[in-house]
């Protein structure tokens, strides 16, 4: 008995090392004649936080639904933890999901819904109550545990669905636009929770059309457009590579002098510099993003720095060019 347990454990550990968290290959999903996901390949490694980015109708939800067994693929395959998604029960064993704003029973309280989910996942006895407490603390909803969910705000409901996904202490989290429809406050709260979930042995696949969500929460990004992958990269590398395009807007307290503008134009790495009004200017870097150097220059000229903003992130620039947001036929 013990030996069996030991072996099973070893096997699981070996498996852990060699399998990816999520492996999607040649995945295609058609609805009638319309192909929503077209031959997509994607890998989420163990411990990786992957953002799935794309405009409305790109096929993000469709892809996540195939992975989580809500849709069956037209062709191709998806594996979670090395298990084919067709074996839904086994594939989802250590996966927590929130797909397309699901709802909890409005008459149930958080405790009731979490206890139901917990039992379905094999959490029993006193361990169940302890786990409910842990996840409700994690999403900051413990005080609301005995109120009916139907009375909750959208943000609170969203946090309960997150709590539900966390019940089995999952290795893999799959979230579809977890912040959609939230007000700025709810959005920040949920994003903070997402960041708090980060752990070296946990992977996340999150779809969004919010760029800052990806750069704040994820390590990697896959951009899809019209059901096809147009880019898959490490977020840091992407930022580094695109650094040449960064433009900063700077506002200062004193009037900007011609001498300063001359120095700025000659500053190493600056490809373009414009005075936008008496107190502000814009500068574009061609090479390194040396904004500290610019701050120094402002100090030397005693202009008094008031604010410095990056005009459109690098991610945004590449996202817009890659997804062709500007061409209107994308909106279906």
């Amino acid at each position: 008995m013990l030996a069996q347990l030991f072996n099973a454990d070893i096997c699981r550990k070996c498996g852990d090392i060699f399998t990816n968290a999520i492996d999607v290959s040649g995945l295609t999903k058609s609805f009638g004649g319309f192909t929503a996901v077209n031959n997509v390949n994607m890998t989420v490694r163990k411990g990786e936080y992957m953002g799935l980015l794309g405009p409305n109708g790109a096929g993000k939800s469709t892809m996540l639904k195939v992975i989580t067994g809500m849709l069956s693929p037209t062709s191709g395959s998806a594996f979670v933890n090395g298990v084919d998604c067709k074996d839904h029960r086994k594939a989802m064993e250590t996966v927590g999901c929130v797909i397309e704003t699901p709802e909890c029973y409005p008459n149930f309280t958080p405790t009731e819904i979490l206890s139901y989910v917990g039992k379905l996942r094999g959490i029993t006895g006193p361990g169940l109550n302890a786990r409910i407490r842990e996840v409700l603390d994690e999403v900051r909803m413990w005080e609301w545990r005995d109120r009916p969910i139907g009375k909750f705000s959208k943000g609170m409901k969203q946090r309960i669905t997150l709590a539900q996904a966390l019940m089995p202490d999952p290795d893999i989290l799959i979230f579809d636009e977890p912040t959609s429809g939230l007000d700025p406050r709810g959005l920040v709260e949920v994003r903070e929770i997402l960041k708090g979930l980060k752990r070296s042995d946990r992977s996340l696949l999150v779809s969004t059309h919010m760029l800052n969500e990806v750069s704040e929460v994820c390590d990697s990004v896959t951009i899809i457009r019209r059901g096809q992958v147009v880019l898959s990269d490490n977020v840091k590398d992407l930022l580094k590579r695109k650094a040449g395009n960064v433009t900063i807007d700077v506002t200062v307290r004193n009037s900007i002098t011609q001498g300063f503008m001359d120095d700025l134009k000659n500053f190493v790495g600056i490809s373009d510099a414009q005075r936008t009004d008496e107190h502000s200017f814009a500068a574009t870097f061609s090479g390194n993003d040396d904004r500290e150097g610019i701050v120094e220059l402002v100090k030397q000229h005693r202009l008094g720095l008031f604010s410095l903003n990056q005009k459109g992130s690098d991610l945004e620039t590449s996202y817009l060019s890659l997804t062709g947001e500007e061409d209107k036929d994308d909106i279906r």
Binding site: K65, T68, G69, M70, L71, S72, H88, R89, K90, A91, M92, E93, T94, V95, C97, V98, I99, E100, T101, P102, E103, C104, Y105, P106, N107, F108, E112, Y116, V117, K119, L120, R121, G122, I123, T124, G125, P126, G127, L128, A130, R131, E134, T161, Q164, P168, D169
Partner: protein, 293 residues
């Protein structure tokens, strides 16, 4: 407590995993959750109250007045029992006709269907809950009606009560399965459809029989030619009344409901109901299994 359960209890806490329970224990959880949902549902509670109110209706004479006003042709005894055939239809349709379609309409399926639970487990677990409640509420209504009926019209024979109840219970199964299976095909469920089908179908058949002169309800003489369609579940309530009326209704109801009893043994009716129910149950299950969310 099994050793498996011990492990999962001890494993509670961050960094440790839980063992997926068997499909049977998942089925029991689904069943339990559905029963809990019923306990918070106004329709379910209303029906239980209605069943509890039967003795009051009976002994206050209210039932007699109401039903006599509606159906003049019925002989003057056993007014109360005539509610039973309607109950065999209304209870299953209300209890089972919406629970699954509302999971899709209210998007709770979007949460549950991502869990490591097979759709068959959800489907059967919820059905068993609907069946338990339908038969439970019906049994309560039936028991009250029979007790009140015996009190008013004299005792019935225990054997007839048992076979009459079994007939009704199997009819309730058939209609619960029908309402439940059909509900997967309609966004708003099947309650209205099942109630109207089950009320109009008998009316159409009776009208046809009446036109050909095979059935004469007003005289209480019963039909001379039995229509095999009358073996279908919408009629089980009337058939069971025929059985039970041996003792408590004298000859009055018995002759009226004779129209619904053909020359077949009891198990033939039970078999028809069981096949009917199973077919609808399977149709619904196939639909849920291939449903795309």
């Amino acid at each position: 407590m099994t050793s498996d359960e011990m492990t999962s209890n001890e494993a509670a806490g961050p960094g440790r995993k839980y063992k997926l329970p068997s499909e049977i224990s998942q089925l029991i959880s689904v069943f339990g959750a559905q029963m809990r949902l019923y306990s918070k549902s106004k329709v379910a509670i209303a029906f239980i109250i209605l069943a509890l109110v039967i003795p009051v209706l009976a002994y206050s004479g209210a039932a007699e007045t109401i039903i006599k006003g509606m159906i003049k042709a019925i002989p003057s005894t056993s007014y109360l029992l005539i509610l039973l055939p309607l109950f065999t239809i209304a209870i299953p349709a209300m209890m089972a006709g919406r629970i699954l379609s509302s999971e899709f309409a209210n998007r709770t399926a979007y949460l549950l269907f991502t869990l490591p639970v097979s759709r068959t487990t959800y489907y059967l677990g919820k059905f068993l809950a609907a069946l338990t409640l339908s038969i439970g509420v019906f049994a309560m209504a039936y028991a009250f009606a029979v007790i009140c009926g015996s009190g008013m019209y004299g005792p019935s024979y225990p054997n007839d009560v048992l076979s009459s109840f079994v007939m009704c219970a199997v009819g309730v199964f058939a209609l619960t399965a029908m309402a439940y299976g059909l509900s997967t095909y309609f966004k708003k469920g099947s309650t209205g459809l099942v109630i109207s089908m089950m009320i109009f179908l008998p009316m159409i058949i009776l009208a046809l029989r009446g036109m050909t002169g095979d059935l004469d309800l007003s005289e209480g003489t019963g039909s001379s030619v039995f229509d095999p369609l009358m073996m279908l579940p919408p009629f089980t309530g009337y058939q069971s009344l025929y059985l039970i009326d041996n003792g408590i209704g004298g000859t009055s109801l018995r002759s009226l409901f004779k129209a619904f009893i053909g020359p077949y043994p009891l198990f033939a009716y039970l078999l028809v109901s069981i096949i009917w129910g199973t077919v609808f149950l399977i149709l619904g299950m196939l639909n849920v299994k291939r449903k795309e969310l």
